[in-house]
């Protein structure tokens, strides 16, 4: 059975093609071509394939199976992350962001947090973007369907690691609301390798859920294919042109002719693909409105053994301050090498710090941003630009004080803050004192994995790039199915929102097949 092969390492499914199979220029025909195989592309592929349509998925990254995901962190980063994880949004401060680049997209490297879009966010989208149909009630069947497919469930108790229990202990001591995390996992056993390809097969990423389903119903997946542009006939999208580079360095062109084109490359790559294709939006918003959910991490040192790498990633979320723009606090254990690269120490000081690796709790906070950046295409490649807003920097600073309070309440002895030249803190009082002074934004170490909004949905074509289903205004038969279409940040981890909207779009296509596929 296909999934057993994916989990346990059987042979590659016959309808997955890679650079090893493409020996020359290739022309393919299909009903639907989908560029990108992650949270936006894979559900559309599975739903339309099951409905009987001929679907081709093109993925720039390679095809890996669960058996390929090992404990070698830097190798996994090189294989699964665009630019080796070193993508940077230029601005003050520079913000490092990560995009998955493999079959399954970023779902292969995310933490698997699976939350429905909060009702107040949907209300904002209705009010500000005229998306009157987006209600919790109307989306319910799509969320339910997604949750079943990717097996959204609370964590098994015995898979939760000590770092997460300490986070909960601190939150409980403060009397703050803590939620058991919902994740797309079927008996996660706490390998804590979510971000490097789940090696146990427990995380139900698109790679082991929607993609096998799409393949089962006849879809074809072409990995290692970089799509240069969408082809057009007048105002109508007619397919894509891409290329594959084989191991011997040869470059072959791939042309896919399709009745419907779907761009699911994420909020950085989708506007770039559209721009490379000469497409513009009269709204002027294509590539604009980039939000990032900036997040920062602290390292807390405890006297006790924590060994946070033995236990599930982010088993709890502290949501006490979500309504104040601080989406959540969570324990986010990182491999030793990533911790080492995340701290400013070096030499002997680095060694002394890292010798305490098993006494560390790495905790992060996610900020719902109030400003936006943009994506520009330079020499065919997208470049993100984003300046952290004063208000958000202030909010993050406040969040750090709260997180410090929580960690010291949990028993932390010392705390390392996420900016250069920051002193180690030894008490919550000290955190209040140090963090009451303004900290220059340029010194912050900010990262993100949630890029959104660069082709936003809206009922008004003069202010939005796509309509309420993600179809690009003013272009026929071009669907955008990824976080680009979010009108604003979604406050929670975006995967489930992307998947639910993708499923809804697929239903709309099936219901209107003559219009989109005739």
């Amino acid at each position: 059975m296909a999934t057993a092969a994916l989990h346990e390492g059987g042979s590659r499914p016959s309808n997955v093609f890679t650079r090893h199979d493409l020996k020359g220029d290739t022309v393919l025909d299909c009903d639907v071509v989908i560029v990108g195989s992650g949270a936006g592309g894979a559900p559309v592929a599975a739903e339309l394939a099951e409905a009987g349509y001929d679907v081709i998925v093109l993925e720039e990254g390679s095809y890996y199976q669960t058996r390929d995901f090992t404990a070698n962190t830097s190798q996994m980063v090189r294989q699964l992350y665009r630019d080796g994880g070193a993508s940077i949004a230029i601005g003050n401060p520079p913000i490092m962001f990560q995009e998955g680049r493999a079959v399954g997209g970023s779902t292969v490297i995310n933490g698997g947090m699976s939350w429905r879009t909060p009702e107040n966010i949907l209300a904002r989208w209705r009010d500000e973007a005229g998306l009157d149909d987006l209600t919790a009630h109307s989306l319910e069947p799509y969320f339910e369907r997604v949750e079943k497919r990717i097996h959204v469930a609370p964590m098994d108790h015995d898979a939760i690691g000590r770092d997460n229990w300490l986070l909960k202990k601190g939150a409980d001591a403060k009397g703050w609301e803590t939620l058991g995390n919902l994740r797309n996992q079927a008996h996660c056993v706490g390998s804590n390798r979510c971000a490097f390809g789940c090696p146990t097969g427990a995380k139900q990423s698109a790679l082991v859920s929607y993609i096998p389903r799409a393949l089962h119903f006849g879809a074809r997946v072409y990995a290692d294919v970089s799509v240069q542009r969408i082809t057009m006939h007048g105002k109508r999208a007619t397919g894509v042109i891409g290329s594959v580079r084989t191991d011997d360095g040869a470059k072959h062109e791939i042309v896919v002719r399709a009745k419907l084109v779907v761009s699911s490359c994420g909020a950085i790559q989708t506007p770039a693909l559209l721009a490379r294709s000469g497409l513009t939006s009269r709204s002027g918003m294509l590539g604009q409105n980039l939000s990032l959910h900036p997040n920062v991490k602290v390292v807390a040192l405890f006297d006790e053994d924590v060994s946070g790498w033995q236990g599930a990633h982010q088993a709890f979320q502290v949501r006490e301050f979500a309504d104040e723009g601080l989406g959540c606090f969570a324990a986010v254990n990182l491999p030793a090498s990533i911790v080492a690269m995340s701290v400013p120490h070096r030499g002997k000081q680095l060694g002394q710090f890292m010798d305490q690796y098993n006494q560390m709790v790495v905790a992060g906070l996610l900020c719902e941003d109030t400003t936006t950046g943009h994506v520009k295409v330079i020499n065919g490649r997208p470049q993100a630009f984003y300046n952290l807003a004063e208000h958000d920097a202030h909010n993050i600073q406040r969040g750090l004080v709260l997180l410090a309070e929580l960690l010291f309440a949990a028993g932390a002895k010392r705390l390392l803050l996420p900016f250069h030249h920051a002193q180690e803190l030894t008490s919550a009082d000290e955190a209040h004192r140090v963090l009451s002074a303004p900290i220059p934004t340029k010194g912050w170490e900010v990262v993100t994995v949630h890029m959104m909004g660069t082709a936003k949905m809206g009922s008004d074509r003069t202010t939005a790039v796509t309509d309420g289903y993600g179809f690009m205004h003013d272009v026929d038969r071009l669907l955008i199915s990824d976080a680009s279409v979010f009108p604003s940040p979604c406050r929670v981890n975006p995967m489930e929102t992307i998947m639910a909207l993708a499923t809804r779009s697929a239903g709309h296509i099936i219901d209107n097949a003559r219009r989109y596929l005739g």
Binding site: A2, Y53, R78, A186, S191, G201, A336, R346, G347, Y357
Partner: protein
């Protein structure tokens, strides 16, 4: 394309291992520098070029002060010179020093001996919990696998009708 360090990059990185990595990692200098080559291979070409230029500048930048290239500096001199970049003549100096510190620290703690030193043993842990999942939860795992492939159309009887 396979990336190879230029002689300058290689020499500068060799000289920086004792500055950035803890003393106990210095015996793994070759492996650390080799691991960095793998990292450089996947960054965008423009970043590769910027890094290459940065290493040349770093190497030659030591001449006015020490009358030798950075690659030849040792001990306190190597430390002081790198620190001067961390503090930065320009933001670019600061950024370069920061990036090299980050990438070398990453490669340093990717070395098996350094992982062992800090008590991080993910391979054995993965093997243990994978076995647990496939034995203790075998029935549920099979059920989920079956669910993924089971027919469940989004729209009833909407099989392709459009010619």
């Amino acid at each position: 394309m396979t990336y190879h360090h230029t002689p300058t990059t290689r020499a500068v990185l060799d000289s920086l291992v004792p500055v950035i990595c803890p003393p106990e990692a210095v015996p793994y200098r070759d492996a650390i520098v080799a691991d960095m080559a793998l990292q450089f291979e996947v960054v965008p070409p423009i970043v590769q070029r910027a890094l290459g230029l940065g290493f040349v500048t770093y190497d030659l930048g030591a001449l006015p002060r020490y009358f030798k290239r950075a690659r030849a500096l040792q001990g306190d001199q190597a430390e002081a010179y790198f620190h001067s970049w961390e503090e930065g003549f320009t933001p670019l100096h600061v950024q370069f020093a920061r990036v090299i510190n980050q990438l070398m620290s990453l490669s340093c703690y990717e070395q098996p001996a350094m992982m062992e030193r800090v008590g991080y043993r993910p391979a054995a842990w993965i093997e243990k919990v994978t076995k647990k999942r496939l034995t203790v939860f075998a029935d549920d795992v099979r059920k989920q696998d079956a669910q993924i492939l089971a027919p469940d159309p989004l729209r009833p009887a909407m099989k392709k009708e459009v010619a």
